[in-house]
Symmetry: C2
Subunit: 198 residues, 2 copies
């Protein structure tokens, strides 16, 4: 992680290229993104990008996955109420960020007849959900939630109202949106609505 | 409503043009839609379309509004459990229909840098939610839900998980998805989570 790594080497370059990719996506969208523009923006040579990523889609998938998994903190406060509120507020902050806007534009572009994003990109949301599952597991261990609670179903119930407002009704999403989503998901979980059947 | 209405006249033409508009949107997307193609598909002359709709966006907004407000039945069974389940199942059926796919592609196209849909189009979802509000009002009158329940918030909680799966995680949406969404929304409503503050 030397800050004197020569151009084209080291984790600094990877971070710069991924950040440039997200910025390009946010400004010009998925279909218009080119490795040339990303390289220029990151201040590296095109070959430096191709040395790490086989193609454009691999670069985009890596950049979006990186944004999704690093830009939303996974809380561990010891209380499921706090953790769910923290997860929801983190998602709200991310949805409003340039990185979040870039990810959402790519993940939705398939539905508009634009160039079809690779499956790897479409799996980013599911990966994002997976990284949140331990929050539910810890709550079950603490006896805060029913043993059979399906963590993925609970997390989806938590985030769905936030994405719905941000993408469908285009309402402003705020901490109040996040807190309401957390209350509803938690109420459902305590009522056993997310318990695995069978 | 005469079935012998001459070409270019009567409600049959309006219905044919709106249906052709939805079909064109579903196949080619918002940006590519032209009045010429719609007219050809509907079997009418372009001037027949312009006689009723000032421009392309007015036609699209009318077609989508028509699809959204007519293709999803608003149940009135006398039971909020039944009504919410019916609303959710109707939405699932619509999301999977060609009309639903067309509407969603247009409403999401703005986030992908494609031609920006007119506000009228973006209001379609809110209009759709409005048409569902009486279901909640009737339940409050029957004493099934808290008096202060915010009908719009309840309806949004009902539909959010369905749109989330259909558009974000791209999971299949089924009647089971609809029933789970109805259970969660109803549990939250009975717990007073949607009561207007103040």
């Amino acid at each position: 992680m030397s800050s004197t790594a020569p151009l084209g080497r080291g984790p600094k370059v990877r971070a710069a290229v991924l950040a440039a990719t997200v910025d390009e996506l946010g400004e010009h969208g998925y279909a218009a993104l080119t490795v040339e523009n990303v390289a220029r923006r990151a201040g590296v040579h095109k070959t430096t990008v191709y040395r790490r990523w086989p193609d454009r889609d691999a670069l985009i998938a890596d950049a979006l996955g990186d944004s999704v998994t690093t830009d939303i903190p996974i809380p561990d406060t010891g209380s499921i109420d706090e953790d769910l509120r923290g997860l929801a507020r983190g998602l709200v902050a991310w949805v409003k960020s340039s990185g979040g806007q870039a990810v959402l534009s790519v993940l939705l572009s398939e539905t508009t007849g634009a160039a079809r994003p690779p499956d790897a990109v479409r799996h980013v949301f599911r990966d994002r959900i997976r990284t949140s599952l331990p929050v539910v597991g810890r709550a079950i261990e603490r006896g805060e939630l029913p043993t059979g609670t399906d963590a993925a179903e609970l997390v989806k119930a938590l985030v769905a109202p936030i994405y719905f407002r941000a993408l469908i009704t285009r309402e402003p999403v705020t901490d109040a949106t996040a807190d309401a989503a957390a209350r509803l998901a938690l109420t459902g979980a305590r009522a056993g609505l997310f318990e695995k059947s069978g």
